[in-house]
């Protein structure tokens, strides 16, 4: 009974609280404090190790996140791809590689922040909490890949329906409830990160520039004219 209650709390209540906070606060922050939306680059203060930390981290996290989204959006196609063993291996190994790349990059980010006295000055407590969360998240993610392989398939069959059930407002925890604790940790932390998102520097992910590649090079603003 208490286990059931616990699952309901972790995989139903918590996700909704986090998602709600995410939407409400990112919009509020954008409207009230758009000045605070920034990637808060620290390259200016420390440029020697910057590349080796920030670049691997971003390539890693972007590809791994994109992978999660794919499994969430097109599970069938993913399963079809995985039906041939070599294709499954390729996918699993590259996912693992990018996961490890993320950890290496993140470790670089953390070490750089601790070792450069200048960069420390622009590092807030929020940053440290965020780095810790991301570290636990990526390490647990890579551990899952190692201990519970073929995640690209079981995510599509088990996690995707759960996530959709949340989004469709008819939560069904039966899939996650049966998962090992490592995977549960990963899921709970993912929702916590989403909830924490609007209070951190992560908001830069939402303002990545897109019109740049299409717009004219020069920008002129007129008063009262478009």
């Amino acid at each position: 009974m208490s286990q059931h209650f616990f699952d309901q709390f972790l995989f139903v209540a918590l996700p909704y609280v986090c998602l709600f906070t995410f939407f409400l606060m990112t919009i509020y922050r954008y409207r009230a404090q758009s000045f605070s939306y920034s990637s808060l680059s620290s390259q200016f203060l420390e440029n020697k190790h910057h590349f080796w930390a920030v670049v691997p981290f971003h390539y890693g996290i972007l590809i791994v996140t994109a992978g999660h989204f794919l499994a969430f959006l097109i599970p069938r196609q993913l399963l079809a791809w995985n039906s041939v063993p070599w294709r499954l291996f390729v996918l699993e190994i590259s996912a693992l590689a990018f996961g490890i790349l993320t950890i290496i990059g993140l470790a670089g980010v953390i070490v750089r922040r601790m070792s450069s006295s200048k960069v420390r000055m622009v590092t807030t407590p929020t940053d440290w909490i965020l780095f810790l969360m991301l570290l636990v998240q990526t390490v647990s993610g890579v551990s899952i890949a190692l201990f519970y392989p073929w995640g690209s398939s079981w995510f599509a069959t088990n996690m995707t329906p759960y996530l959709w059930s949340i989004l469709k407002l008819s939560p069904d925890v039966s899939f996650v409830a049966a998962m090992p604790w490592l995977i549960k940790l990963h899921v709970v932390l993912a929702f916590l990160t989403i909830g924490f998102f609007p209070f951190t520097r992560l908001v830069h992910v939402l303002v990545i520039p897109n019109p740049y590649l299409w717009r004219k090079p020069q920008v002129v603003r007129w008063y009262g004219r478009k």
């Binding site: 920034s38 808060l40 440029n47 520097r201 740049y212 008063y223």
Partner: protein, 497 residues
């Protein structure tokens, strides 16, 4: 023809005394803040020298400005569209604080609070970033007046193309030469900073051409810092936003000259409107190097031409601005007299700040421990000046001497003319000969003399009416606007977490 107006500037380098008053005025008004502490929107450099940030003119290192390869259209030399995606996380051409300097202050409290001891307490330098003790190794004018010239002046990128002998000459004590180069944002017509911004946060104001950064849209992708060849956009390391010279637009809008102009001790600064043809910008920015200076001039339209006036009116430029353009001192220097030149036009941003190149002292012969001037007449020819013509050509002529020679020759002729007028030890015929050779009429020489030497505040700063109040009325009811003013930021701009 697409006529626009631009608030433009002239700095008369012959008059700059290198006092840095302009820099301090700007610092006090705009950049005396955390994160902006190292910024000098206005800085004054000693030339030859490496400047601030160190060697900013070396575009092989900084990769600022536009690049032209053969017949291809120009492209941003640092991270243009093609390369912005892989480079957004780490900008390979982004200068770091080491290229500028680490701002510092002094631990003055120690003078009051030090324990009693046998030594006098001192105020140690401490970093304004970390608060830790620092060894000061660089500053915004570290090579002022040729300080450390063996390292700094000797590495000036403008020495390109100078002979070994000319270089040696520049560094021998008896023949040292220097001049000052005050620098602010040029509010370019083809600004690379604007073109490079992935967020579209930078923009040029349509009505007056001032280039600004929208602080609410800037996301610290820092492309503009790398792209501006003059290194006049700066990264605020605390707020995570780029900042730049705003040409004191709040002052201009209330009819006052920008702080650096207003405070200039040497009265070297001139400000006025130029009308230009925006349709031809792209063509001009793509011209071959040697045609750039004249091409840039060809964009600027004659505000006295009735045809131009008519078109300007139909383009919506208010009469007050057109009148102001007709009195613009900048138009006189740049177009009528052609003695003010754009800095480093080869960067192709089409800067709208022009410099009158300085006359430098004459070369002396040094024999048996005695210096003797080898010039014959009263004033030396421009080729005998200590600063080689090629140096000025690199700085103001896109590497080509012609336009610089013309500007210098005319200034020299004006000196001959005034000497004949006031002292009288030069006969009129000689003065006239120089004027003729310099393509300068008597009236022109007088006008140059007057605007250079006897200029009042009103002569130097012809500030156009900005009509911002009307502009606002066009989009909003004034009462409503007034009620909302001050509510742009809720709770004031705060650094993100």
């Amino acid at each position: 023809m697409n006529i626009r107006s631009q608030v433009s500037m002239v700095f008369h380098l012959d008059k700059c005394i290198g006092c840095h008053t302009c820099s301090v005025a700007c610092k006090n008004v705009w950049t005396d803040r955390k994160g902006a502490d190292y910024m000098w929107w206005n800085n004054v450099e000693t030339k030859p020298g490496t400047g601030y940030p160190t060697k900013w003119e070396d575009q092989e290192q900084y990769r600022g400005g536009w690049e032209k390869n053969g017949d291809e259209p120009i492209h941003i030399k640092s991270t243009g569209k093609a390369r912005v995606v892989p480079n957004i996380f780490h900008n390979p051409h982004m200068p770091s604080m080491d290229d500028y300097y680490e701002p510092w202050t002094y631990d003055y409290q120690n003078l009051f609070n030090a324990e009693e001891g046998s030594d006098q307490p001192i105020a140690k330098p401490i970093s304004m970033i970390t608060g830790e003790d620092i060894e000061i190794e660089a500053g915004p004018n570290w090579d002022d007046d040729l300080g450390g010239s063996k390292i700094y002046a000797a590495n000036d990128p403008n020495l390109k193309g100078l002979s070994e002998q000319q270089r040696l000459q520049l560094s021998s004590v008896e023949r040292l030469v220097l001049f000052y180069l005050p620098r602010i944002c040029n509010h370019c017509l083809n600004p690379c900073c604007v073109a490079s911004c992935p967020s579209g946060a930078l923009y040029k104001r349509g009505e007056d051409g001032i280039v600004l950064i929208d602080q609410k849209k800037c996301r610290a992708w820092r492309s503009c810092v790398a792209a501006c060849p003059y290194k006049k956009t700066y990264f605020n390391w605390f707020t995570g936003k780029s900042e730049k010279c705003i040409l004191c637009f709040p002052r201009l809008e209330t009819g006052q000259a920008p702080a650096c102009f207003h405070s200039c001790v040497g009265r070297i600064r001139y400000l006025g409107v130029l009308l230009y043809d925006a349709d031809r910008l792209e063509d001009v920015a793509n011209l071959p190097d040697e045609e750039l200076v004249n091409g840039h001039r060809s964009l600027i339209l004659d505000p006295h031409d009735p045809e131009v006036v008519r078109k300007a009116q139909s383009a919506g430029i208010p009469d007050g601005v057109i009148e102001s353009a007709q009195q613009s001192p900048v138009y006189k220097f740049v177009m009528d007299w052609k003695i003010a030149l754009p800095p480093h036009i080869e960067y192709r941003t089409l800067p709208m700040l022009f410099y009158v190149p300085p006359m430098s002292p004459v070369i002396a012969d040094f024999e048996n421990g005695l210096a003797s001037h080898k010039m014959q007449g009263l004033f030396h020819g421009i080729d005998e000046s200590r600063m080689p013509m090629q140096y000025f050509a690199n700085l103001f002529g896109g590497g080509h001497e012609g336009v610089v020679r013309y500007a210098m020759g005319k200034q020299l002729a004006v000196r001959w003319h005034r000497r004949a007028e006031t002292v009288g030890d030069v006969d009129r015929a000689t003065a006239d000969k120089f004027l003729r050779e310099a393509d300068c009429s008597l009236e022109e020489a007088e006008a140059i003399y007057k605007l250079t030497s006897l200029c009042t505040f009103e002569d130097r700063f012809v500030i156009p009416p900005m009509y911002r109040e009307q502009a606002i009325e066009m989009i909003k009811e004034p009462g409503e606007h007034k009620a909302e003013t001050g509510f742009g930021f809720v709770g004031g701009p705060q650094r993100g977490l």
